[in-house]
Each structure stands twice: as structure tokens, then as C-alpha cells.
Amino acid sequence: MKYIIKKFFSMIITLVVVSFCVFLAFNVIPGDPALRKLGTEASPELIAQVRHEMGLDDPLIVRYFNWFTSFIHGDMGTSYNYNVPVAGMVLNKVPITLTMAIMSFVLTILVSIPLGIFTAKYENGFIDKAITMINQIIMAIPPFFSGIIITFIFGMIFKLFTPGGFVSYTEDFGGFLRYLIFPSVAIALPKIAMTVKMLRGSLIDEAAKDYTRTAFSRGNNTNGVLYRHVLKNAMIPVITFLGMLLADMVAGSIVIEQVFSIPGISRILLSSISNRDYPVVEAIIMGVAAIVIIINLLVDIIYRIIDPRIEITD
């Protein structure tokens, strides 16, 4: 399909631009990887020598070009800090962060869609009002804080999991998932609140439209109008929103990994940024950017399937 090919090319261009921006950013901010590696006590001669070995005294464009050519050949480079290939460092952390993001996304959908429908159906009823109020509160709580509360309640009081006792997916996959449930809830909570609010509003808007009246005139009952007519229309803006949420969850899991001591992407990302370990940072950011772009592409495709008014044009 022409559309997909076109999207694919724009995706590659975006990734190139992103990677260059990261390079540029590291060039602008102060900090020297050679200095970080050797410590402040090192002699200027030694630092100059190491800088030369690392290729840091080349101009920015040359360095970028060198990184870029090896990257497209599948070589993500070597970590300045640990002297090991970046690929090995990053790739085995990806499943951890990704699993957590996907778990919180699935949780968001499973909880928010029924709740959104329910609150819209019984608009201004007691339960709707209660949920709307609770929503406002939850939306205002950042995940790291709810993470701490969850650790305290479910980890320390109910002892449903051992705080800090992360199990790797290579050892025990079930235990790995069980541990990730709690951080996923922390990530999902504010997103659930937002999605419920969004879906509720969207459903109420759609229910006021003319085609709803037509649907009633054909003898549909409330559920018939809701599920056969209104829901599909109301989901159109919500799908865009969910796409943005999923992208945000990948990024948002970084903070939560710290709170729950999960050795995911975030730990290496943070240490690499402070150590000015460009190759590692580049690799992670490229990965996150690629995920975000792929999610956007998927949202676009789903959008076109649901809404026939959007033509696939090239």
C-alpha cells in the first residue's frame, strides 16, 4: 500500500532528525565524556589523548556521520562508560520497559472504556458524579506518588509483592509479570481517569447528534443506540488520545522504574545522560522515538478503518 510506504519514509526521516537533535543537544550542553570517564584528577594530556581515542575531537558533523553509518549497519557503538557494546546493554532491558508500558495500556483500556460508557449512560446519576469526582483527584496525582502509596499499601501492609524484589523475565516470567502489575497500575491510574473523562464527554456529545434521534426513531432502545450507533463515533477521538497515551506511557515508565527499583531502560538512560555516554543515550532515544512513531502509524491506520470519511490519499 502506497500510504504505508509513504509513512515508512517519513518515519525514517523523523528518526534521522531525532538522532541528529540528540547529537546536537549533547554538543551544546556542558560535560565531557572523557573527563567523566577519567575523573577530575586526570592530567590534561591524558584527557586529550582519551578524547582523541574516542573520536571526540572530530567536528560534530564527522562524529554524527560516523555514528550514523555504523548505526545503519546495525552497530550501535560501544558505551563510553562501561566499554561494552550498547546493543547488549540496551536490548535486554527493552522487554522490561515495554512490558510495563503495554500492561498499563491494556489496564487503561480494560478499565476506562467500561467506566466511560457507564458514566455517560447514567450521566449526572449518583455513581457518575462520584466517579467524576474521584477522577479529578486521581488525575492530579503523579504516577511516582501513587507508586509510593501503592508500594506502601500493597507491598508493606498487604505484602502482595516485595518492594525492590524485582524478578527478571529470564528467571521467572510469571513472577516478572506479577511484580510489574503494581508499577503498571501506578502508570495507568491518571491515564484511566483521563480516558474515562474523554470517552464520557465524547459519548455525551455524540448522543446529542441528529443520527442518534434517527436511531431512536427506528425503535432502538438505549443500549441499541449506544452500542450500535454512538460508541463507534465516540471512539474516534478517544483512539487518537489512546495513541498519545501509549507513547507517553513508554516515556512515563522511566520515573516509575526508579520508584519500584526496576532495572529497565530508565536506569541506564539516566546514568548515561549524566555520564555523557552518547552512544547509549542515542540508542535508547532512537528506540523510544521509533516506538512512538510506530504507535502513531497504527493509530492512523485504525482511524482510517473506523472512520470512512478519512480517505487514504497519497
Binding site: 443520527y211 434521534r213 434517527t214 426513531s217 427506528r218 463507534k232 470512512p308
Partner: protein
């Protein structure tokens, strides 16, 4: 003539503001089998409100409805909602002023035309339902019905969409079709075609039609009997020809005077 719908003393008022607003007062209507009755009046005269009440689509918390709408031995104002729903779309259908927005934008035309059958006659299988929908689309003048069946509303013009609305309303062979300003949003040439179509369906299927319009000349083309409404009340009613010849109420006289006349002989 057999009377199939008998509305007496219909009174509708809203309680949204400080003082109740009376939308319809003392409205009476008798509709015979196979008859076409027109309701005319300007915006806010209560004609659409009366129509929506008959179609069972007026359902707001802050309103009061009194009177009687007798259909098939039931008072539509007081019967159970589930009983009312068995009439809606099957015995009493309605088409609206805005064909552009009255169809669901994300559902195929065929699906929307068939929906009444799906709801009221689940015994009809999918294939027969599709055939009926295509036949109905042809009956309303969409010659490429097989293609239209798979299209979406945005792919059709306003006139075609109104034809689709009519097809969806008529597929169950209703006893009453309420046409609430069905031509107002359409071009003049398309208006005439829709009026002709309603006439044809009335003759072929024997469906009684309540035709609501602010355009007296269209009513004159279509309806034997007409009811003139102003500010929620009926000011005049009778045979269309008589009222056209000798309007008694000053409001009717003004409405007739407002019809643009084209004198070709000058």
C-alpha cells in the same frame, strides 16, 4: 375512511426556565388510512414538536405532555416505552429536515436502511434483509442501489441521503410516515423530486403521511388536507384546495401571500 391516528388536545410545555414555555397547545389531528395531511407554519409554531411527540421522540425530563395520541388502541403518550419501541420504525416512521446529519456517518447505507428490519423482524435472515434493502433503495429512486448499499453517507448528495432516509423509514412498511420538513435543506429541483417520491410511496404502499413544511406551495402539491399552526396552536384546518381559495385566518392569508409567484405571461 378508517382513522389510524387520532390526536386530541395535545399540549406540550417545557419547564426549563422560570416560566413554562408552551410549545403546543390544544392540537388535534385525525389521520385516515392512506391519507396525506400537511402541517404548515413558521419556525416555532409547534409543528415539529407535535410531529416528534407522535413519533415518540420527545423525551426530556423537564417537560409536560398532556392529551392523547391514539394509535392502534394505545395512547402513545402514556404507553410503556418498550411497547412504544415496537411501533417506532415499524409502524410509525419519521424523516427529518437534515439529511446531512441524520444518518450515522460511520455506518454503511445498507446497514442503516436495514436496521428497522433487524430490530423488529429478527426472523428475517440476512440475505432476505439485504435484498429488501436493495429493493427499497431502488423504490426510492436510487438506481445504483447495489453500489449505494455499500457506500457511506458522506459519499452521497443531500437529495440522495434524504432518499436513503426515506428508504430506511419505509422498509418496514409503516402505517404512518412523518416527514418533518424533509425538503427544506434541499435544492428546489430535488425538493420537487422528493415530493413526487412521497406521493408515489403513499399510493403504492398505502402509507399515511404527515407532511410538515413551512412551504405552502409544496403542501398544496401533496396534501389533501392541511393544518395551519401559529405559536403552538392550530389557527385553521381543512381541505387544502378550500384553504388556498378562501383562507379565513389572517395568518393563513399572509402565508399564502408570501408564496413567490412566477408570472410567465408578462
Amino acid at each position: 375512511m378508517e382513522i389510524i391516528l387520532d390526536v386530541t388536545d395535545l399540549h406540550i410545555e417545557f419547564h426549563d426556565g422560570d416560566t413554562p414555555t408552551i410549545a403546543v397547545d390544544d392540537f388535534d389531528l385525525m389521520l385516515g388510512k392512506g391519507e396525506i395531511v400537511g402541517i404548515v407554519g413558521e419556525s416555532g409554531s409547534g409543528k415539529s414538536m407535535s410531529a416528534l411527540a407522535i413519533a415518540g421522540l420527545l423525551n426530556r425530563g423537564s417537560m409536560k405532555k398532556t392529551g392523547r395520541i391514539m394509535f392502534n388502541g394505545d395512547d402513545l403518550l402514556t404507553i410503556d416505552r418498550s411497547k412504544l419501541r415496537t411501533y417506532q420504525g415499524d409502524e410509525i416512521s419519521i424523516i427529518f429536515q437534515e439529511p446531512m446529519t441524520s444518518l450515522n456517518p460511520v455506518k454503511k447505507i445498507g446497514w442503516q436502511v436495514e436496521e428497522s428490519l433487524y430490530i423488529h423482524h429478527p426472523e428475517i435472515d440476512k440475505k432476505t434483509r439485504k435484498q429488501k434493502a436493495i429493493d427499497m433503495l431502488k423504490d426510492v429512486g436510487l438506481t445504483n442501489a447495489e453500489e449505494v448499499y455499500y457506500m457511506y453517507p458522506h459519499e452521497l448528495s443531500g437529495g440522495m441521503r434524504q432518499r436513503v432516509m426515506i428508504a430506511a423509514a419505509m422498509i418496514g412498511g409503516p402505517q404512518i410516515l412523518i416527514a418533518d420538513e424533509p425538503t427544506t435543506a434541499l435544492d428546489v429541483t430535488v425538493q420537487a423530486q422528493i415530493v413526487e417520491l412521497l406521493k408515489k410511496l403513499n399510493k403504492e404502499m398505502g402509507t399515511s403521511i404527515i407532511f410538515i413544511s413551512h412551504d405552502l406551495s409544496l403542501v398544496n402539491q401533496l396534501c389533501e388536507r392541511v393544518i395551519v399552526m401559529q405559536k403552538g396552536s392550530i389557527v385553521e384546518s381543512g381541505k387544502t384546495a378550500d384553504i388556498f381559495k378562501a383562507p379565513k385566518h389572517p395568518y393563513t392569508q399572509r402565508l399564502i401571500a408570501a408564496i413567490p409567484k412566477i408570472d410567465i405571461g408578462e
